[in-house]
Assembly symmetry: C2
């Protein structure tokens, strides 16, 4: 098979994050589940924003974060996702392009505005997210360039893509094109409540279409509706490679009979937004450059540690040194 | 005289900052003067933005930053400045309102977009700014509510207001209204190159219309075209009260024959954007609550230390504790 032009092609929601600090009382008052992502409509987003403290805007989106981090680590990366032709769409396009990620998806004209995610960060560093999908709902099958998929070693899909209705079809088109070209498909489960909303579809996909699965403890337990050890074994049976993250307890990597436990990298936690996205980025950047599973997990942990040490899900320091210093 | 409804009324450019890290080579390549603010047109702003690394957006503007910090310290604050009715204008309005600042100026419709300032932060924490004034050029005399001015103990004006042509007239209208009502007028010189562009007008204003002057070392030297000690004495002769900041060497406060030297507060410098704005906020918040000059300078230093310890010019922690713990 020919070498792929891209190591990683991410497909996901194209979102601008609005990050502000809040206390637990704010979460309760607005009926938010701490640590979770909730979908909100335009009116609810307006209402939450009006009540929020002053914020900082930066580009987000789960798979888009993964792409930005992976590019920062030196991987060749492209991203597909839908913004509107508005100011926040311009911010998203600038940031992902400036991060070194190819972003060919045209902007939506005359429809919903660019998606935003209102993120409340509590003193313990936990993030609680409220997403208005906006232009993301216009992302569909026709936005999936199958030649691009065929030219990417791994096509990486975020679980949140199951929320906008048309994106599920795009997801399947991408997975089919990847496998037809002999490439790999990777999926992140994204969020336990997202898994709850789409459990049957997720189970079918994981079993039949996914080669590399990313999930945290709560998500993998939600997928298989059981406790962690059993869920991990179910994942081992369903996919060729699974990387299960457990916050400060590191990650567990399963491939056939092989099991690799990787410790977390130390970090002063300021804001956990994007921790899982960064882990997947480090893992896939190492994996697509032929590293051992232990090295893949280590680079995932190091990338996550960088991102949780500051507000925002995109890296704020030069990541190339992480890959350079990585033991094989 | 009746008690004022507001302690501080800020008037300035309403700007959204786009902050990114850059090295010295980037500044040279784009002909930027390190540490300075340059005015750029829409085309130049586009060109610089396209070349910039991924950024973080947050509300800025010199007087607006001062207002946000002062409100965080517990002062009663209002702000006048012009945004457009676009997404970034919405961000600016949300942030200043959520900071507790009254912001009555209507947004501009159908004109230039909301102003933005492209800020490159080098490894030493210095910020280099490129401002596209956008909707700010539409701010004029009619935007100055003289009743609001009369109801504010101090009207605080940023020197950058001398750049948009119509704002100088607004500036004079505000200063006249303040003095007619027996209130105080305060001015920040903002930037040495801004002083160079408008030196004659600045000198006339400082001498005849300003009660409280803020400037850093380079700015006060630019105003009087002489070295610091002589410039400080010229300021002492021209205004009732001058607060001159000298970065890590603290500040010098001059009032008639009185001279108070205040040490800088310790901080790990990440990004100096907004240091002077925060100093003025702390100073005026203490001054309008009747504190000594030493306490005014101390609160200025503490507020500046909070702001330079992170990216962005608006506070990221609860500032009320600074005022609570301030020695008289």
């Amino acid at each position: 098979m020919a070498a792929a032009r891209f190591d990683i092609l991410g497909i996901g929601n194209a979102i601008v994050d609005v990050v502000a600090r809040a206390d637990e009382a704010f979460l309760s008052k607005h009926d938010m589940r701490k640590g979770a992502m909730a979908l909100v409509d335009a009116a609810a987003a307006e209402k939450i924003y009006a009540a929020m403290p002053p914020g900082q805007e930066s580009s987000g989106g789960s798979a888009a974060n993964t792409c930005a981090v992976a590019a920062g680590l030196g991987a060749k990366v492209a991203f597909l996702g839908k913004v509107a032709d508005d100011q926040l769409g311009g911010v998203f396009r600038h940031d992902i392009t400036a991060a070194g990620v190819a972003f060919p998806t045209p902007a939506l004209s005359g429809g919903a505005p660019t998606a935003r995610c209102l993120i409340l960060v509590t003193a313990d560093g936990q993030r609680t997210m409220n997403t208005f999908l906006g232009a993301c709902v216009a992302f569909g099958e026709s936005d999936v360039d199958t030649d691009l998929v065929a030219d990417s070693a791994v096509t990486y899909l975020e679980g949140y893509l199951f929320d906008p209705p048309a994106a599920q079809a795009a997801f399947r088109r991408a997975a089919d094109a990847a496998h037809k070209a002999g490439r790999l498909v990777s999926l992140s489960l994204s969020d336990a409540f997202c898994v709850d909303r789409h459990r049957a579809a997720f189970r079918e996909l994981v079993r039949n279409h996914v080669d590399i699965l990313f999930a945290n403890e709560v998500e993998i337990c939600a997928l298989y509706e059981t406790e962690f050890d059993r869920a991990a074994e179910a994942a081992r049976a369903d996919v060729a490679l699974a990387a299960l993250t457990r916050s400060e307890n590191g990650s567990l990597i399963l491939r056939g009979a092989e099991t690799v436990a990787v410790p977390a990298a130390s970090a002063d936690v300021i804001d956990t937004t994007g921790a899982g996205d960064a882990y997947a980025a480090g893992f896939l950047a190492a994996y697509t450059s032929g590293r051992t599973l232990a090295a893949c997990g280590r680079l995932g942990s190091l990338a996550a540690a960088e991102v949780i040490a500051h507000y925002g899900a995109r890296p704020q320091s030069d990541l190339r040194v992480l890959l350079t210093n990585l033991p094989s």
